[in-house]
């Protein structure tokens, strides 16, 4: 009974404590596409990716009711970093759906015009951004003012009798942005966002911490990624926080006993060594909303550090050369750094175990037959000395000449159906990074699908007159970009090529730019009229060093643009299921295709080839 009453009370009080209109809520996922397009159209950076805000407990003031309810006030606010744009997963602050939608619209406009000046306070930064936005987008004035008005009403409701200076400063600024001039600088400097209620219409005041931590921890955790853990992508975003190691000498219990049941406490999950309980750790990570990574904690496992990525020498693939130096584009400096990467040509160590399934071989036969028919497509050649049909145009000309008294000995009066010979070269470049090691279904991994695709592709093209080459790549930092030339343009299609494809395995990361540059060089040597670089990938460019996010994207874009300048068309086929905003930025909106289910890749790839080269 006690429990029952407790539940009702909890329900009642939490509803009263949180200002939410569930029925009017708008989900980010539903309008994601519009929002990122709006953000760019409002002047935001093109390469930035839209992500869900990290759910965090509001670090500032809570309402009396919410304290009473014991409900942590979870709030998502908007923010923008060099690489990402964060927007709340849902907005339900306003009574009507339309208003919540307008709130998203406003945030995308505000973030597009937000330029943080670290020396200025949160208020000043926001006011400047708002002024800039409204000046650029006068049509938003009404919308913003209306949202502020409604929001102010809510704030006033929430306000407690106790006098809160910061809150009243903020409210007066909201009422009249001009009033900021009346404030003394020290008032502004002493303003503490922690002391006010969350303000959904402005930028999150607590963003620094999150990005900072990300910088600190990524390299370490990345380098120790194991294949199994990579396969499991946690779909939730957690707020990262680095806490000091627990000081065990301090015995004071600083929390009330009843809150022990809450998960939001420090759980010493060792992310790098906790392997046997991995599933549990994942489940726990989904439940809690703050993952604390202990810095400098000396567990026994942490002392034993080795790189799990590197295979022993006798198992590793064979390096053919000492390395080709390639440049890399640094968008921050806006320069191409020459000889920055070293690309090694690699030869796969043949593995006798892999066999393509008989079903695939059957399919290969069928597709090969189709391609044979396609390549035998014929074209009417006009003005031939002999042929199956009369060329009427030529005949009229001849008659006209005759009437004119000119007798040119033109007897080319026939048309003939002949095989269409085109001059075309295609290089298929496959991403072999470790992420392709994840499973697509119970039996096969992404890498298996890629192998099947390469196999079908090589079989299909061997039936045509087109020149084609196949290669794979992966990388580990800039001085080890591995490039596997599986079939060169001049190689004949032989069982050996099949073996090479079958022996491929996944490893390391995706330094796409360097691989594209090398493939471009190869294609550039081809004498064909039309050249195509077909890129097969399962994700965005990334590597263990700084090659991730925007840096990798900009470098790849640069490599693609250089290829284009050399007259090579780059087309990307991807099996990434996440937000693919970066794809159109890198390749241009007509030059990529997303494949939803990896199982479809092998067949889709060959179909796509015929479409592209028709």
């Amino acid at each position: 009974m006690e429990e029952f009453v407790g539940q009702i009370w909890h329900k009642y009080i939490t509803r009263a404590a949180t200002l939410e209109y569930k029925e009017a809520s708008v989900e980010l996922e539903d309008i994601r596409k519009q929002l990122s397009l709006q953000f760019r159209a409002f002047g935001g950076e093109l390469a930035i990716e839209l992500k869900k805000s990290i759910k965090s407990n509001w670090q500032g003031k809570r309402t009396f009711l919410s304290k009473l309810a014991g409900a942590e006030q979870k709030i998502e606010l908007a923010s923008v970093t060099d690489n990402n744009l964060y927007l709340p997963q849902q907005i339900a602050c306003f009574k009507e759906k339309e208003l919540n939608q307008q709130c998203y619209l406003w945030l995308s406009a505000l973030l597009a015009n937000y330029k943080e000046d670290k020396s200025q306070s949160w208020i000043i930064n926001n006011i400047n951004a708002i002024n800039r936005t409204l000046k650029k987008l006068p049509g938003l004035k009404k919308i913003y003012q209306n949202l502020v008005k409604l929001h102010l009403e809510q704030r006033v409701q929430l306000n407690q009798p106790k006098h809160n200076i910061d809150e009243s400063i903020l409210q007066s600024i909201l009422k009249d942005p001009e009033s900021i001039c009346d404030l003394k600088p020290e008032q502004l400097n002493h303003f503490d966002p922690k002391k006010v209620y969350p303000l959904i219409l402005w930028i999150d005041p607590f963003t620094d911490k999150v990005t900072q931590i990300k910088k600190n921890t990524t390299p370490e955790t990345k380098s120790q990624d194991k294949p199994d853990t990579q396969a499991k992508k946690l779909k939730l975003h957690k707020k990262g926080e680095v806490v000091d190691d627990i000081d065990e000498k301090d015995g004071l219990m600083a929390f009330r006993m009843e809150s022990i049941f809450s998960w939001t406490e420090y759980v010493p999950v060792d992310r790098t060594a906790d392997d046997e309980e991995e599933d549990k750790a994942c489940a726990a990570a989904e439940d809690i909303d703050k993952i604390s990574v202990v810095k400098g904690a000396e567990t026994t496992a942490a002392k034993l550090k080795f790189d799990l990525d590197l295979p022993s020498e006798e198992q590793d693939d064979i390096t053919i050369n000492t390395g080709i130096k390639l440049p890399e584009w640094d968008y921050r400096k806006n320069t191409l750094i020459s000889d920055y990467c070293r690309l090694h040509l690699m030869q796969v160590r043949p593995s006798p175990h892999y066999e393509f399934s008989s079903r695939l071989k059957e399919k290969a036969k069928r597709i090969r037959a189709q391609f044979e028919i396609l390549s035998q497509q014929k074209q009417w050649l006009k003005a031939q000395p002999d042929g199956s049909e009369i060329d009427l145009d030529q005949f009229i000309v001849k008659q006209a000449d005759k009437l004119n008294g000119i007798d040119i000995h033109n007897n080319n009066l026939y048309m003939e159906l002949r095989q269409n010979i085109r001059s075309f070269s295609c290089l298929l470049l496959a991403d072999l990074s470790l992420s392709t090691d994840s499973y697509v279904n119970n039996q096969s991994k992404v890498i298996d699908m890629i192998k099947d695709a390469l196999y079908l592709f090589s079989e299909a093209l061997s039936a045509t007159q087109d020149r084609y080459a196949i290669a794979g790549f992966c990388s580990k930092k800039r001085d080890m970009v591995r490039y596997y030339p599986i079939k060169s343009f001049d190689d004949k299609q032989t069982p050996e090529i099949h073996n090479k494809i079958a022996s491929l395995s996944s490893g390391y990361y995706t330094r796409m730019g360097a691989a594209i540059r090398h493939a471009t060089e190869n294609l550039d040597k081809e004498a064909s009229d039309t050249k195509l670089l077909l890129l097969l990938s399962d994700g965005k460019p990334n590597d263990v060093d700084l090659y991730e996010g925007r840096y990798g994207i900009e470098d790849t874009k640069h490599a693609v643009r250089m290829a284009f300048k050399k007259g090579i068309r780059v087309f990307c086929v991807t099996i990434d299921d996440e937000d693919n905003n970066y794809l159109s930025y890198i390749f241009g909106c007509d030059n990529y295709v997303k494949i939803q289910r990896a199982e479809e890749l092998p067949e889709k790839l060959t179909k796509l080839y015929t479409l592209l080269t028709r």
Binding site: K33, Q34, L37, Q38, R40, A41, F42, G43, L46, L105, A109, K136, L137, P138, G139, L140, K141, I143, I396, V397, Q399, A400, D401, L403, N404, I406, T530, F564, G567, R569, S584, Y585, G588, C589, D590, N591
Partner: protein, 263 residues
């Protein structure tokens, strides 16, 4: 602005007028590169008028053959009559022949373009066994629109390298505003807003949109507004709808239009 009422209005972006005039005086062929609707065709008709030469414009398409340019015999009532094509007429009269979107034309047109565009300046007509020498006031002008979509049928280097070339882009904001103002006589404030809006949307080319907003589309929009259409509706019909067939993108871009315009 211009004293001559017949002279088509053109506001230069940089030195294109001088380049064109010098190329004309020195008997050099000219190539204009640039996106659609940025003023290439207007520029050519302006220059033809200014130099006082007749202009023959040919919009090239993928069925256009050399005979369409040079001319052909027609059979009329048992007789044959030779009809000059536009290129031949321009050569005979000493005019300007403008081949718009030349990459679209059949490959065999290069046979007639090449001898005319180097120092020989000749047009051999096989059918009539004539060999025309182009007079000094003949000029060949071609235009093309480089871009991703043209890669499979781009201009051959051997053709490209015969031409003096000028690259066009959409004019800068100031110039574009004065173009719109002169073309449509719409008020300054509205024109500025339209141009600002278009420049923001142009950033989306190759990313969300295949093509960007041309100056021509802005002129259309301004014309509709001047004629009394509501600015938002005018933007939808003349600025946004022509850009894409994707309904979602149209809707989203319209929210951007609503946000940008101060009406």
């Amino acid at each position: 602005m211009s004293l001559n009422n017949d002279l088509p209005m053109y506001i230069p972006q940089k030195n294109e007028i001088e380049t064109f005039s010098l190329a004309f005086q020195n008997k050099l062929p000219l190539m204009l590169k640039g996106p659609t609707g940025c003023g290439k065709t207007r520029f050519v008709s302006h220059m033809a008028e200014k130099l006082g030469r007749p202009l023959y414009t040919v919009a090239c398409h993928d069925d256009l053959t050399a005979a369409d340019l040079v001319g052909r015999y027609l059979i009329e009532g048992g007789e044959t009559v030779w009809r000059d094509g536009p290129l031949t007429r321009a050569v005979r009269e000493g005019g300007i022949c403008y081949l718009d979107e030349v990459v679209e034309a059949r490959k065999d047109t290069t046979v007639v373009i090449h001898p005319l565009s180097d120092d020989r300046r000749i047009l051999p007509i096989d059918r009539t066994s004539e060999l025309l020498h182009a007079p000094d006031n003949f000029m060949l002008v071609i235009s093309y629109n480089p871009g991703y979509q043209n890669l499979l049928k781009g201009l051959k280097p051997s053709t490209r390298q015969r031409f003096v070339s000028i690259t066009f882009d959409y004019p800068g904001s100031e110039v574009e505003q004065s173009i719109i103002k002169q073309e449509t006589e719409l008020n300054d404030y509205m024109v500025k807003q339209l141009v600002d809006l278009s420049n923001d949307l142009r950033r989306l080319k190759d990313h969300d949109l295949e093509e960007s907003i041309s100056t021509r589309l802005i002129v259309y929009t301004a014309t509709l507004i001047k004629a009394g259409m509501h600015p938002i509706e005018a933007c939808q019909s003349a600025l946004i709808e022509p850009l894409t067939d994707d309904d979602d993108i149209v809707k989203t871009l319209m929210t951007v239009v609503n946000a940008k315009l101060d009406i």
